[in-house]
Symmetry: C2
Subunit: 274 residues, 2 copies
C-alpha cells in the first residue's frame, strides 16, 4: 500500500497502483520530529537551503517544481505553504489557489484552468487545492460517475507526465489530520475573531461527508501516485512535524535536481568595468 519515505520521517510515500488505507496512517505520528525546538532549528536550516536552491533554479532557467497541496478543511494547506516558502524570493514562486470553477472554466476540460497556472522554467509553482478536487468534491457530492473519475485519474497521470517531460518536478502532499483534530480547529476558528473569516457554515456539511472524502482521497492518491510524480501522506495533527516533513521532501528533491546557474558565455577576465 504505502511505505515510510525513510526511517527518519513520519511522511508516507504512496506506492503506485497498490491500495492505500488512510485509516492505517496515524495523523498524530510525529516521530522523530517530536522535539519542537529541534524542529524549529531544522526548519530554519531547510528554509535557507530552499532559498539557495530556488535562486539556482531561477538562474539555471531550465527546470521547475510544482508542489500540490490537498487536505480536508483546516488540514493546514495555508499554514504549510506559508511556513515553507516565507523567506524564498517571491519573484520565483507562483501560488495558485483553486476555488469553485468559473462558468468559462467549466466550459473546458477540467485541466484547462489548471494548465494555465503550471510554473514556467526556473519557477516554483504551488497549488493550494488543485485538479484533484475534480475527483474528490465532485465525486463525494455525486456530480460525476465512477466512469468519469477513473477517466480523470488517467488524464491526471498523463497531464503530470507531460509536465515532467517539460522539465517540471511534481510533488504532491496530502496533509492528513484526524476528524477530532478538525473539530478542534473549526472550534478555534469560531472562537477566535481573528480566525473567523476562515470559517463557513458550509464547513460543517462537508465534515459530515468525512468518511466519503477519506475513501475518495485514498483511491485518488493510489491511482495517481507515480514514480515520477509521487503522493506523500503527511501526518498533520502536529503542525511542526508536518512542516518539517514537507520541507525535508521538497529540499531533497531540489537538491537531487541539482540546478546549476549557466556558465558565463563571455571572457570574465576581459570585462573591464571602468
Amino acid at each position: 500500500m504505502a511505505s515510510a519515505t525513510s526511517a527518519t520521517t513520519p511522511a508516507v510515500r504512496v506506492q503506485p497502483g497498490t491500495p492505500l488505507r488512510l485509516a492505517d496512517i496515524d495523523p498524530d505520528n510525529n516521530a522523530p520530529f517530536d522535539h519542537k525546538k529541534k524542529v524549529e532549528k531544522r526548519l530554519d536550516e531547510l528554509r535557507d537551503q530552499l532559498s539557495d536552491l530556488q535562486e539556482k533554479l531561477y538562474a539555471e532557467h531550465r527546470q521547475s517544481v510544482l508542489l500540490v497541496f490537498q487536505a480536508m478543511d483546516t488540514g493546514g494547506k495555508d499554514g504549510t505553504i506559508r511556513n515553507l516558502l516565507t523567506g524564498v524570493n517571491p519573484a520565483g514562486v507562483e501560488v495558485a489557489a483553486f476555488k469553485q470553477p468559473s462558468a468559462e472554466e467549466l466550459n473546458h476540460d477540467f485541466l484547462w484552468r489548471i494548465h494555465q497556472h503550471t510554473p514556467g522554467r526556473g519557477h516554483i509553482g504551488v497549488f493550494n487545492r488543485s485538479h484533484y478536487e475534480d475527483v474528490l468534491v465532485t465525486r463525494v457530492h455525486g456530480l460525476i460517475e465512477p466512469f468519469t473519475w477513473q477517466q480523470r485519474y488517467q488524464d491526471i497521470v498523463n497531464f503530470e507526465q507531460l509536465l515532467t517531460h517539460g522539465g517540471t518536478r511534481v510533488l504532491k502532499f496530502f496533509l492528513h489530520i484526524s476528524k477530532e483534530e478538525q473539530a478542534k480547529r473549526l472550534q478555534a476558528r469560531l472562537d477566535n475573531p481573528k480566525k473567523r473569516w476562515k470559517y463557513e457554515p458550509g464547513d460543517l456539511k462537508e465534515r459530515q461527508l468525512w468518511d466519503a472524502y477519506q475513501v475518495a482521497y485514498q483511491e485518488a492518491l493510489a491511482a495517481t501516485s507515480t514514480p515520477a510524480c509521487p503522493w506523500y501522506v503527511i501526518p498533520a495533527n502536529d503542525k511542526h512535524a508536518r512542516d518539517q516533513a514537507v520541507a525535508e521532501i521538497v529540499v531533497a528533491a531540489l537538491a537531487e535536481m541539482n540546478p546549476q546557474p549557466p556558465a558565463a558565455t563571455f571572457d570574465v577576465a576581459a570585462q573591464v568595468i571602468a
Copy 2:
C-alpha cells in the same frame, strides 16, 4: 497504412499505428470531386448544413469541435479555413494561428499555449498550424532528438484524449500538395503584388527541406491518428476538391455528434407575452 474514407472521396483516413507513405497518395487525386460546377453546388449545401449544425451545437452547449490544419507552405490552410467557415456565425468559431512561440510560451511545456486555445462548449475551434509544429519544424531543423519527438507523440495522443473526454471532437487535416504545385504557388505569390505579403525569402530554405518534412509528417500522422482523433490526408493540388473533401468530413462528424438544443425548462404555453 491508410485507407480511403469511402469510395466517394479522395481523402485518406490515416490508420492508427500503421506506417504511412505520403508518396503513395496522389496530391492531384480529385475523383470524384473533379467537376468544378458540381463541387461548388455541393459546397453551398455543405456550408448551409454546417451553419445549421453549428447553431445547434452552440444552443446545446455541451460538445465542441476542434479542427486542426497542417500543411507545407502554400498548402492551402488559410483558403480551406476561409472557404469552410465563411457563412458560419463567427460568435461560435474561434480560429487560432500558431506562429513561433514567444519567450513566455517557451518557458512552459509545448502544449501549454495550445491548451489555452481549445474550444469551449458549443464552439468550433480551428487551429491554423498547431501543436504538431513541435514534432515537425523542430525535428526537421534538428532542434529535438528522436527521444523527444517520440515522447511528444504520446503527450499529444494523451492531450487529445483529454479533450475528447471533455466533449471535444478532434479532426485533423493534412493538406497534401506536390512539390511542383508548391513551386507554382510560390511563384504566384512573387508575381502577384496582392499576394506578395504572404511570401518570405525564408520559404525557399524550408522548401529545400521538403523530403525531411514529408518523412516527419508521415511519421507524426501515423503515430497520432487514433480512432477518436483521426488524421485525414487531403489531396490538395485541386483547391475545389480539397474544400469539398474537408467539408464532407466536418459536416458528417457534426451530424454524427447530433447536437440538440435543450428542451424548454418552462411551460411554453403558459408564457403570455402581453
